[in-house]
Symmetry: C2
Subunit: 322 residues, 2 copies
C-alpha cells in the first residue's frame, strides 16, 4: 500500500492541532521555548529546548526565562531591524565557529526576514538558521503543465543528487525561497528563469497566482541536520500553462532533469513517497484546484483542503505592494 | 470606507480561534454545551446555554450534565440512525408545538445528516433545527462566469424578497444545501437546473470541482431567529465557464433576477455588504483561485486564504463514492 494523499499532507503539516487533543498539544508545546523580541507582545517562533541548551546566547543580547520558556532578544527601545539582525548574526556566527548545529553546515548565505504584528519587519537571519528559531519562512512554487484533449501533463523536475536538502526527490516545476525584501511574483519569475530556463516573457505573460499553501512542519532526518525543529511555511502558489513546444531545462545545478508526467504517473510517484514533502502538498493542491481530486473520489477531501491552508499561529507579513 | 475582504471573511468565520487568545476562547466555549450521542466519544456540535435551558428535552432520551456542559442523546447500544433521528424529531416537534424557538418558524421540511468519527452517519434532523444543535452542515456553491479578452464577468443572482433567510441579498450563481444522502456533484447539478434553469447537459459537461470553503459561523440577526447560534459549514466549490449565449434564469421562487457583473462591480457590491455572508466567501475564494486577488494587491491575503479553509473541530463526513 502506498501513501494516501492525507498521509502525504500529514507528513508535511505534522505539528499538532489544539482541537485534536488539547492535553497532547500543551504537552508538546513544553518541548519548545517561545522566541520573542523585546517591545513586541507576540511569539515569533518555537525553539526546541535542546537548541536553547546548546545555542551560545550572548548575555548582553538575550533574556532566557526558563519558567516561562521564553527566549527574548533584548534591545533598547528604538532598535531597528539592522541592529537586531546584527546581534542575531553575531551569535549565529559563534554557533558556527563552535560547530554547535548540523543545520548550520548547510549555510546558504541568504537572509530570511522575521515579521512582527501587522507584518512589521523586525529582523533578518541566515536561511539555514531559521529552523533553529522556528520562524515562518516564505516561498513561491509554480506548477508548469500542458493540457490537451487527453488531459493534464505536469513538468516534474528531480532534485540534484548533491542538494543539501532532500537530494534526488521530485520537486515542483519551479520553486524557491523568498529572501528579505523579495516579492512572490518576482521571486517565481526569477526562479523560473534560473532553475527551469523558461523565457522571462513567457513566464510573465502566462503565470497565474492561485493562492497559497501553509503548514507547520516538524523536520525529520530527510531535511538534514537536527530533527524536531519546527518550520512553519507559506508557499505562494502559481500555475503556468505551457505550449507543448516550451520545454523546461535545468538552468543551474539544483535540478537533474525535467520529465513531463501524466497525472497517473504523478499520483504513483506521490504514493511511493518520491516527492519532497512540501512539493507533494503543492501537487495535491493542484489536483484539488483542477477538479482531479473531488469530494467523490478522495475520502479525506475535507481534511486535505483544510490542512493545505493551515492558519499559522505566528505573525505573518503582507507582501502587498499597495 | 466599505468592508475589506478580510472584514467579510471574519463576518462569516466569526467563531474564535484558540491561537488568537487562549483565555477568551475558553471563556467563549463556556457559553455552550457540547452535543453528544451515547457510544461516541466526540462532540458533534455546540448548543447555546440559553437553548439548553429552553429546549423541551424529554427525560427518556437525553442526559444533561450541567457541570461537564454536555447534552447527550442516550440510546441503547445497537441503536441505528433511524432510531436516533426519531427521538430527536419528537423533541423538535414538541419545541415547535410549544413555540420555543424563532429558527423553527423557518421550517424547511428537509433533513440534514449528522456524522460521527470516521464519517459514520449517526442521525438526521430537520434543517431549520440544525443551528440549535450547532452541527456541521454541507452545501455546494457554483460560480458561473464568462471570460473574454476584457476579463471575467460573473452571473450574480439576487435572492427573493420573501426568502426566510437573507432576503434580497446577492448570492452565488447556484447554491444549495445538501440533504441526507445527497452527493455534492449531483446536488449542484440539481440546483443549477432548479434555481438557474441551466440545461443539465451544459452543466454536466462544463462544471469543474475547485475545492471547498469551510468556516464556523455565529449567527446574527440577518440569518433570522435566535442570535449566537453556531453554524459550522462545508461548502463544496464549483466553477462553470458559460458561453455568452447561456443565460441563467430564475427557475423557482428563490431568485429574483440574475445579472452579469464585471469584477469591479462584484467587488463594489462586496464592499457595500450586499452579498449573503457565506456567498461573499465563495466570491473571494474565486478571486484568489483566478489570480484576481494576489499577495501583491491584497494586504490580508494569508489570513483570507487560511480562514476560507477552516479546519472544523467536529467530525465531518466523506462524500467519497469509492
Amino acid at each position: 500500500m502506498g501513501k494516501s494523499n492525507l498521509d502525504l499532507i500529514v507528513e508535511c503539516d505534522n505539528f499538532p492541532y489544539y482541537e485534536d487533543d488539547r492535553a497532547a498539544y500543551t504537552e508538546n508545546l513544553n518541548k519548545y521555548y517561545a522566541f520573542k523580541v523585546s517591545g513586541y507582545n507576540c511569539t515569533l517562533g518555537y525553539i526546541l529546548n535542546t537548541v536553547v541548551e546548546k545555542f551560545p546566547w550572548s548575555e548582553k543580547s538575550w533574556a532566557i526565562d526558563s519558567s516561562a520558556q521564553t527566549v527574548t532578544l533584548v534591545t533598547p527601545a528604538g532598535a531597528n531591524p539592522a541592529h537586531r539582525s546584527k546581534l542575531v548574526a553575531a551569535d549565529i556566527a559563534e554557533a558556527v565557529k563552535q560547530d554547535k548545529f548540523e543545520v548550520l553546515k548547510g549555510w546558504r548565505n541568504e537572509n530570511y526576514a522575521v515579521y512582527g504584528p501587522g507584518g512589521e519587519f523586525l529582523l533578518e537571519m541566515e536561511r539555514s538558521a531559521t529552523p533553529l528559531f522556528g520562524i515562518v519562512s516564505y516561498g513561491a512554487h509554480m506548477t508548469g503543465y500542458v493540457q490537451d484533449e487527453s488531459g493534464f501533463k505536469i513538468w516534474v523536475p528531480r532534485r540534484a543528487k548533491n542538494k543539501q536538502t532532500y537530494p534526488s526527490l521530485l520537486d515542483n516545476t519551479v520553486a524557491g525561497g523568498m529572501c528579505t525584501g523579495e516579492m512572490p511574483f518576482e521571486c517565481i519569475v526569477r526562479e523560473a528563469m534560473e532553475e527551469a530556463s523558461l523565457p522571462e516573457a513567457v513566464v510573465r505573460a502566462a503565470i497565474v497566482s492561485r493562492g497559497c499553501v501553509t503548514y507547520s512542519h516538524v523536520r525529520d532526518a530527510r531535511a538534514g541536520g537536527e530533527t524536531g525543529l519546527i518550520q512553519p511555511e507559506v508557499e505562494y502558489v502559481y500555475d503556468i500553462k505551457l505550449d507543448p513546444e516550451t520545454i523546461p531545462k535545468p538552468g543551474d545545478n539544483e535540478v537533474e532533469e525535467f520529465k513531463l508526467l501524466s497525472i497517473p504517473e504523478v499520483q504513483a510517484a506521490l504514493e511511493r513517497g518520491e516527492f519532497k514533502p512540501n512539493c507533494a502538498n503543492i501537487m495535491i493542491d493542484f489536483f484539488v484546484r483542477h477538479g482531479l481530486l473531488t469530494p467523490e473520489n478522495e475520502p479525506d477531501y475535507l481534511q486535505i483542503v483544510a490542512r493545505l491552508h493551515r492558519r499559522l499561529e505566528f505573525p505573518t507579513v503582507s507582501h502587498c505592494a499597495r
